[in-house]
Amino acid sequence: MNVLRVFLNRVSGLWTKRRMEARMQEELHCHLEMLEQEARQRGESPEEARYAALREFGGVEQTKEICRETRGLPAVEAVLLDVRHAFRGMLRVPGFTLLVVAVLAVGIGASTTVFSILNTLFYKPLAYPHPEQLVMMGEAYTRGQKEGPMAPVRYRDYEEWQRQAQSFDRIVAYRPQGFIVNSGGEPERVRGERVARGYFELLGVRPMLGRGFSAGDHSRGGQPVVVLSEEYWRGALGGRADVIGQTLRLDGSAVTIVGVMPGPLRATLIEGGARMWTPLIPTTAELAYDKGSVSVLARLKPGVALASARSEMAVVSQRLAGEHPDPDRDFTIRVDGLQATLAAAASAPVAKVLIMAVVCLLLISCVNVSSLLLGRATERSKEVALRIAMGADRWRLVRQFLTESLAFALAGGAAGVGLAYLAIGWCSARMGPLMANDGVDGFEIDGRVLGFALIVSVATAVVFGILPSLRGSRVDVSGTLKEGGRGHSGGSRRQRLTGMLVMVEVALSVVLVASGGLLLYSIRQFWRFDWGVPLDHRLTMQATPIERTYDTDGKRRVFYNQLLARARELPGVEAAALVNSMPIHTGAHSMQAKGAAAEPAFAGYRVVSPGYYEAAGLGLRGGVPSLSPIPATARRWRWSANRWQPSCGRARRRLAPGCRWTALGGPWWASRRTCRRVWSGRRSTRSPFRICRSARGPCVCCCAWRAILRRRRRLCGR
């Protein structure tokens, strides 16, 4: 208590310094005069009285000094003095200061921008209560020892998990889905999710208007309802308060709006942001569906560790496998923290390269500033020599130099944050609409980002300041002072040392510039990568027929055929075709080949309409694809040998497709030859695509069809 009071008093002493000084001077003066007067009254001469007073009082200047030290915080005052000195020094050479600050601002600004983007996307804690308890659950292929990425879960497995798992407060399934909203004008596709009971309660979000889903909403035959996101409510419905109870035409049927959820829900970032939610009431087809269809989110019970939940789910997984043995399914259950899943995306190659490039840039600016300061330190050797001559010790000088570096770095940091602010504004404006799909409404500079900028600034100050400060504080005093106005430290050895330092710094910066340039080049190469598919003059299109209206295969086929025919008639369109999943896109459409080889081989496949090769511009090896029919009932596909997976050889393998055969509707054709290598996503999943064609035109798959259009070249406006 007392210590605190004394400390606060001392701190306040830093501000009331002038007043306190005046008070002390007057008080001591008064005291001395009184002593003098007393001595004079004793009969001493004025001069003697004066000496007597001083004798009795003791050292006046010492007393003042002790008082000053008691009053404030001497260490802080020294630092403040250093800071003031540093800023004065900066103002004395404005051009130099501007250069240094600009160089630092670029380095710090770039790293702050990148950090802020990564922070917004991956590291910012999820805005839910106890976000550390939130986990994603899914199934993962086990390929040998390696666990594959998380895949959707079968609905019935999800129900089993709910029954058996004890580690979780709640386990809730959801399924991303595009809804077609028809509110009078143009129908609009809106990203949404069908969610099982307790989804909002699991996340811990409360509706800002109306209510969430009730038990009745999830019962079969209940009144269809929808919950909107704040974003959709404000954007499409104008944020009217009276929307609750009104109806919206969703996928062709009237649905009652019961609530509005606040803000973008960032759990949905993984799947792409949802704008509206409807209750997930599985249809009989979905219940019977043999492939993963739902994603699963869960909240751990308080105090349950992720590891124990994982081991419990491993037991559940084994038990389920024992109950329903299926040799085609090599799955394990994967449980990952939601935040970790988000953060894992930050280790994407582009992010890594970006971080490295930014670090390079920062180091380049450090090295450059270091060289500049080194030059300045040499110029200032006279000043330093003078200060040493007057009794400053080495440590004091190093501190002075470091304070100056810090002042430069902080000024650079402030300018850098300003630059980052501009850069982020620019990024948000350009990427905002893209990011909005992912539930991110723009990048921002928050406390974490500012903290990051501060830490980076201080760190750079140490990095670029340490060498000049050590070098600058070592001066041959007598030599320098003797040289007079030249202000140059003599001695050939010393100059050689300085020369070497400059050489090292220049070499370092050349290396850094080269590596930074290479890294930026690799980022560029990421975008210019030859995916094996020409990306120019290609348009894509997606259309989902409403299930209610197009309820049979025949109707859907007519719809798609019409779509394709009309697309081909569009002016400027040269070719159009349908495909179940875009080239490059890593869809869930893969087949597992089972055969002689010990390791199962996976192959992605595409179901395409005639003319796909022309529309997509896939150059075929061996000219026209030779297609041979394979009856769907035989369930035997021919696996042609290809150059990219020699392990497959020419052996015949049984393919276990990702999609159910019947859902695809046969008969099917498989091409003997593969087309050019088409890359899919990351290098690790490079499986050559098999391109198959349906003889009867497009048929219904478990997914919506995509159209790919080729534009005529001269129409290229952009």
Binding site: L28, C30, H31, E33, M34, E56, T63, I66, T70
Partner: protein, 112 residues
């Protein structure tokens, strides 16, 4: 000056002296306090009057004494120090401590 004829002020005792003097005499300026110390000690104490001021500053920082400008007897502007309530309590505590300490020392000296 002969060794032992005048005692140095013991560490920490100056604070106690100042507190006690302010308690008995009421508000006083620095010179007044110094005079009082000399007077009570009958010049047995070696006191650099300057050392009084850091002590006063310390006591003020701790909130035991208060100070304000006032007029001295011969109408000179001077800073007057007075005891606060907290200072009163502190005086009691320190006086007790001192008596206990003095008692220990006395007993020790008598014992030999």
């Amino acid at each position: 000056m002969k060794e032992g004829s005048k005692a140095d002020v013991l560490q920490g005792t100056l604070d106690l002296m100042v507190l006690k003097i302010l308690a008995t005499m009421g508000p006083l300026h620095g010179y007044g306090i110094a005079q009082r110390v000399q007077q009570v000690s009958e010049n047995m104490l070696q006191l650099n009057q300057g050392t009084l001021y850091p002590a006063l500053l310390r006591l003020e920082q701790r909130g035991w004494i208060d100070s304000e400008w006032g007029r001295s007897d011969n109408n000179r502007r001077a800073r007057y120090y007075s005891l606060t309530a907290a200072g009163q309590e502190q005086l009691a505590v320190e006086a007790e401590n001192w008596e206990r300490m003095a008692g220990v020392i006395t007993r020790l000296l008598q014992g030999t």
